[in-house]
């Protein structure tokens, strides 16, 4: 029963209208889990079927499924996305990827475009580190500093917490009381995901995207500055760029209404196209 497996493994949740309209798949980025979508998900669920999930290693995913080699690069995460589309028997999805998941979506869509109706890249960056003329915004030293930050903030993390974070069915009360649990990750996993995210360079893949794509960026964002959004837009043929009236790297939290609307307008185009004879 592959579908049950994949559902539990990624703590997949499905909401919204199960109509003939498009299915949105919301993928969270590095740091937290699918809770990142909690403000936009109810808005989108009014018009669409919405699938959210946790990447392996995050949130309530099955931590035992995490393998250092598999998740050393974004390809492992892209494989998971494709496996979910397949095993959950999803029609071609509107894939909404936040931050690093935008690029995970790009990799998946380049590999199996038929599984994607559209891509929505929310504050994407194909490469965080500066290279020659390209300005990703960071140096290798900055990324090492992040790894240090991760480490100093995981001093309090202990293996004993893992069952709780994994959603230990025996003691649900513990899960309730945990603060910061949305963004709590096994330090080794967090470190690996941070490296896979911030040391990746997938600029080459952008031009190979063959799916209608919306790029969403913010007026001000340290992690994905406007020039990076423009770069992604310029590289993906026929893509649309919309700048949200929001600051920071998490517009789905700081401007949920505007973010949801931008996604909904774009996704409705799929529905319109599909309705035509």
């Amino acid at each position: 029963m592959g579908d049950l497996d994949v559902q539990a493994r990624h703590h997949v949740t499905v909401s919204g209208r199960h109509t003939s309209g498009p299915t949105l798949m919301l993928a969270h980025g590095f740091g937290c889990d699918q809770n990142m979508w909690r403000l936009v998900e109810p808005i989108l669920a009014r018009d669409f079927r919405v699938v959210t999930f946790d990447h392996i290693g995050a949130g309530r995913s099955d931590l035992s499924a995490w393998r250092a080699e598999r998740y050393a690069t974004l390809d492992g995460y892209a494989d998971d996305v494709l496996a979910m589309c397949r095993d959950l028997d999803l029609p071609p999805v509107v894939f909404v990827g936040h931050s690093v998941s935008a690029m995970i979506g790009v990799l998946a869509a380049v590999r199996e475009p038929e599984r994607f109706a559209q891509l929505v890249l929310l504050v994407p960056s194909p490469c965080y580190i500066d290279h020659d003329d390209y300005r990703g915004g960071f140096t290798r030293a900055d990324i090492d500093e992040l790894l240090e930050s991760l480490e100093s903030n995981y001093l309090g993390w202990s293996a004993a917490m893992a069952p709780v974070i994994m959603g230990n069915a025996d003691r649900p009360e513990l899960g309730q009381e945990l603060t910061n649990s949305f963004c709590r990750t096994d330090p080794e996993i967090a470190r690996s995901f941070a490296k896979a995210t911030f040391l990746s360079d997938h600029r080459q893949e952008l031009a190979r995207v063959n799916v209608p794509t919306l790029v969403l960026d913010c007026t001000q964002d340290v992690i994905a500055p406007p020039e990076v959004g423009r770069f992604v837009h310029a590289q993906i043929p026929g893509s649309v760029l919309v700048t949200l009236p929001a600051t920071g790297h998490c517009p789905q939290l700081s401007a949920p209404q505007a973010t949801a609307e931008a996604i909904a307008i774009f996704a409705s185009e799929v529905a319109d196209t599909a309705d035509r004879p």
């Binding site: 740091g31 909690r38 931050s99 930050s149 480490e151």
Partner: protein, 430 residues
């Protein structure tokens, strides 16, 4: 009102009867309390205070924090955001963890970050933020307290460094153990014409060299010797004994080629080497294979080792009684037992260490909760006529089934003669 130093001289003089405590000291303390205005408490608190708008823009900052960072108020208020004060790595952490959590929970506490002072200095701090909401629950601004964590961070760095070192040492140890372990076992068994061989080796801990060993080697044009045993103890000591055992048995085999004299030579060597301090001994079963028609004659000698198990081509399973031999290396003139086994087409001979039979296996129904020889016999009977590979594959499954019950190292060596293509007699045995 905004004073950056503590005292006003015109504070009211308290009345004696209102003073908690006695005398001049009490009076001074009370006077200090009265003059401690909320503004002064804010400005010169022993921690940094920062208020920011929801987009991060700094709206208010106290003198303590300005002092730590070396900024003037007008350089920050309305001009910089909180994340501008962080190191680049800190900013990434802020955007990916801190800000989303604050937004979702309304507060976040005790996060370790580093601030950058005006002169570039790094200031390790612990940061706690809460979102202040209006009466109708609308978020208005973010209040942040910042504690100097220089000493704590130095201590934590020390702990982290120690942990990394410990992890590195452990990895080095495991590499060493793996290498040493590999050097004590043949990398692969040689091909013996007319014989199939297979082995199983389970190491209980990656941190310690196992005391189980085995080997198979040629001693003359058509004769082969093998042994399998278990050194008492583990680790470096066991490794050095195992090494001694291997080369002693190999040398003795080349010299004599008789299992009993191989064991006797080993006993003498071990007894002499380890007599004085730290006595070392082992159990071992030694065999010599001599071609014999369509199979082999196997001469066996055992020193305190569990009996070998013969799985016949006819489905019969029997322990070959090599019991009664003494531990090797314990006494100067130890006595060992010998037996001879005929290994014909379709027969399989199993040698194993007690890690297998003494595994905790409550399901096997033995009195002491161990797997035991009876269970092994029953298992082999259930297996029917098999091959070296078949027996080892099945036993590997048994070992996996023990799970955590398999507490000791275990080694198994299987030897079999391939069954005749078509055997009219139905039996390979003479």
């Amino acid at each position: 009102m905004m004073t950056s130093t503590g005292h006003d001289s015109d504070a009211p003089e308290p009345h004696d009867d209102a003073v908690p405590g006695d005398g001049a000291v009490g009076r001074a303390a009370f006077s200090a309390l009265l003059e401690d205005s909320p503004e002064d408490l804010y400005e010169n608190a022993p921690c940094g205070y920062l208020s920011t708008l929801l987009d991060g823009q700094i709206a208010k900052v106290n003198a303590t924090l300005l002092g730590w960072l070396g900024y003037r108020r007008e350089e920050l208020v309305g001009r910089r955001s909180f994340s501008d004060l962080l190191t680049m790595g800190g900013r990434l952490y802020h955007e990916t963890h801190f800000a989303p959590l604050l937004k979702m929970q309304g507060q976040i506490g005790g996060v370790a970050l580093e601030l950058r002072a005006a002169d570039g200095r790094r200031l390790p701090v612990l940061v706690t933020s809460v979102i202040k909401t209006s009466g109708d629950g609308q978020p208005q601004l973010v209040r942040t307290t910042i504690f100097d964590a220089t000493d704590r961070r130095a201590y934590e760095q020390e702990l982290l460094r120690a942990r990394r070192e410990a992890e590195q040492e452990r990895r080095r140890l495991q590499e060493l153990v793996t290498t040493l372990q590999a050097s004590l076992l043949p990398p692969s068994l040689p091909q013996v014409p007319g014989l199939r061989t297979a082995t199983l080796y389970h190491i209980a801990s990656r941190d310690e060299v196992s005391g189980d060993f085995y080997d198979l080697f040629q001693i003359s044009r058509d004769r082969w010797a093998f042994f399998l045993g278990d050194v008492c103890g583990k680790g470096a000591g066991a490794a050095s004994v195992t090494s001694l055992i291997r080369y002693t048995l190999r040398a003795a085999a080349a010299y004599d080629g008789d299992p009993l004299s191989m064991l006797t030579t080993l006993n003498t060597a071990l007894f002499r080497e380890y007599r004085s301090e730290d006595p070392r001994y082992c159990t071992v079963i030694v065999g010599v294979l001599t071609p014999d028609g369509d199979g082999f004659t196997v001469a066996l000698a055992s020193g305190g080792h569990p009996p070998a198990l013969l799985l016949g081509a006819d489905g019969e399973v029997a322990f070959r009684q090599t019991r009664g031999g003494m531990l090797v290396g314990m006494l100067a003139d130890a006595v060992f037992t010998t037996t001879s086994v005929r290994l014909g087409p379709g027969d399989t001979l199993l040698l194993y260490t007690d890690g297998l039979t003494e595994a905790h296996a409550p399901a096997s129904g033995t009195g002491d909760g161990r797997y035991g020889e009876e269970a092994l016999h029953a298992f082999a009977t259930g297996l029917g006529p098999t091959t070296a590979e078949g027996a080892i594959t099945a036993l590997a499954e048994v070992l996996r089934g023990f799970g955590d019950g398999l507490t000791d190292d275990a080694a198994v060596l299987a030897l079999s003669v391939p069954a005749a293509e078509i055997s009219p007699s139905g039996k390979g045995r003479l």
